[in-house]
């Protein structure tokens, strides 16, 4: 949430460009906080829809069986259906999340999952209470609405109840619904780990020999610009159409006042060499307590004192 705390009007810097994803830190017993990306409302909604479809399909299959075997008289069909739906739904969510480590089928498809806010395993208590609260939040008043409320007043209360509680996860900073707050759980994105090759691993080969940079040339940029450059160089390998690096290189050379010309074919080698030198320089600075977040690091000194 750093992007929120910064003064918004002060500047249009990289802080404004950072992706607006909510994250939640969990502290496992190992003592290193892990950052999880909070699942977006859309993903949760989608997962919920899929799960409801699955449970309703189960209900329909069971009802067809009951009607075909003539076990239930048609008079009691609606109430039997409502009870069976409840009896399928509650165990489905609770058992699925217990067996699949915080994922139901819908959550699996939408690549989200439930994690415990305690930094340890999800406990049965957490899973049960967050799923029981869902009954209170949505299904119990929803059933009243669908079954036809006995009075206008009752219908109004049920409607306000549902809509009010559906707003909770939208307003909440961590997209928690009431059940999540009570059970101390978060719904997060499934983490995906992709390892790109290290750009600074080897010395780039250029036809006319190595490039050298002086400290004053490396003073211009900060970590943010470095990582943008890394992204550009990485995506060059992934993308179908190669990115034209010449204007980027020219821009950098102009900024750092690099005196020598660079051949067109050597542009990538130059950028890699610059990336490597810049990273080594910034990491060294960081190690000695002078972390530079972006190219405004010089100005920051005045304000942060």
């Amino acid at each position: 949430m750093i992007w929120r705390k910064k003064k918004k009007a002060a500047r249009v810097g990289p802080a404004a460009l950072q992706p607006i994803t909510k994250t939640q830190e969990l502290l496992p017993p190992e003592g290193v906080p892990l950052r999880f990306e909070i699942a977006p409302i859309g993903g949760r909604f989608g997962a919920q829809i899929i799960d409801i479809v699955i449970t309703v399909l189960g209900l329909i299959a069971l009802m067809i069986f009951l009607v075909a075997t003539d076990l239930v008289p048609s008079m009691a069909l609606v109430s039997v259906g409502a009870i069976l739906f409840f009896m399928i739904r509650v165990p489905y969510y609770a058992f699925a999340e217990m067996i699949w480590n915080g994922q139901t089928i819908g959550k699996r498809i939408c690549r989200i999952r439930v994690v415990s806010g305690t930094g340890r395993s999800l406990t049965a208590h957490q899973i049960v209470s967050r799923n029981l609260m869902r009954e209170m939040e949505v299904f119990a008043p929803g059933t009243v609405l669908l079954a036809g409320p006995s009075s206008f007043f009752e219908g109004l209360i049920a409607f306000l109840w549902v809509s009010g509680l559906l707003l909770v996860p939208i307003i909440n900073k961590r997209n928690q619904r009431l059940g999540d707050i009570i059970a101390n759980t978060y719904v997060v994105q499934n983490p995906v780990a992709l390892l790109y090759p290290d750009l600074a691993a080897e010395q780039p080969v250029a036809q006319e020999g190595g490039y050298e940079f002086f400290p004053d040339q490396l003073d211009h940029y900060g970590a943010y610009e470095l990582q943008v450059l890394a992204d550009l160089l990485q995506s060059r390998k992934v993308a179908q159409k190669p990115l034209d690096l010449v204007p980027i290189g020219a821009r950098i050379r102009q900024k750092i006042e690099y005196p020598y010309p660079v051949a067109r074919n050597d542009e990538e080698a130059f950028l890699k060499a610059f990336y490597r030198a810049q990273r080594a320089y910034l990491e060294q600075k960081k190690l000695f307590g002078n972390a530079r977040a972006d190219k405004f690091h010089g100005e920051d000194k005045d304000t942060s004192g």
Binding site: M136, P191, L195, A280, E283
Partner: protein, 337 residues
Amino acid sequence: MSEPATMIRSARFRREREADWVRLDTILKQTERGGVRSLSFEDARDLSQLYRQSVASLSVAREISLDKALQEYLEALCCRAYLAVYAPQESVRGTFKRFITRSGPAAMRQSGGAILLAFVSMMIGAVVGYLLFFDDPMWYNTFIPGGMQGGRGISSSREELLDVIYGSGDEDLGGLGAFASFLFSHNTRIAIFAFALGVAACVPSFLLCAYQGLILGAFFALHVDRGIGLDLFGWLSIHGVTELAAIIIATAGGFRLGLAVLFPGNLTRRAALREHGRDAAKVAIMAALMLVVAAILEGFGRQLIVDRDTRIIIGWGVGLLWLAYFMLAGRSMDKRR
């Protein structure tokens, strides 16, 4: 390690550890597909060790490395490993067994005060309802809306009332139908809302529970007025002991939540709610189980058993069993809590 001297520090750091991360990654892929049980002995052994190593690497990388790709990879890898290592360790069956034998009854004992409070509020309602009926029978119609009276109004004669009590009643619904319509009935809704609304400082729960008592009192008074109080007592006993107890217990669960909001003690309200919520959820599940039992008794027992004394014995016998279960089950484990 071709040329470690010329490599920059963070690149060297990465090169030295990358093989371990890749190995952890493959173990994790296997775990995510088939669970921890599908791992071989070596993989399972290495999983936790590699997890701790990677977490340590992450901690270092955050400090020394500006390689964004590396940081993102390690963050995600550690998160995945954390999820694999700290997966729920309880089986579904074990959890259920523990609830039934230990934690459920223990939560009931912990909530004794709240249960007493709920019982008192229902009794207040019952006494008031009973007295008001004799004051003016028209109160009956005020307390019990027409739809719920089921043909038993203030104008019903003694014979009509007896017919409902000993007659076969909703025969056309059949056992399962009666079972379901019972669960879907008024009382279950009262129980659900008495629990859920308890968060609002106990007041709605108290009102609902007292209202339920009011209905009970007026209903009872009607039958006493016709001189068949004991017959109604038997009719109500067979399922009512369990059912009314379930409503009281659900209300008690609501009270636990409300009390946490009203008197959080040294905790914040949120923490107190969480703390009391542990017991309240268990109490609510217990109430749900009791409602299911009451539905079975209502759906099948009431039609099969028409003798008054047998009804009383069965109803209160089941009530005693509940009491014994809540008081005695899992007692030896209480000290460990």
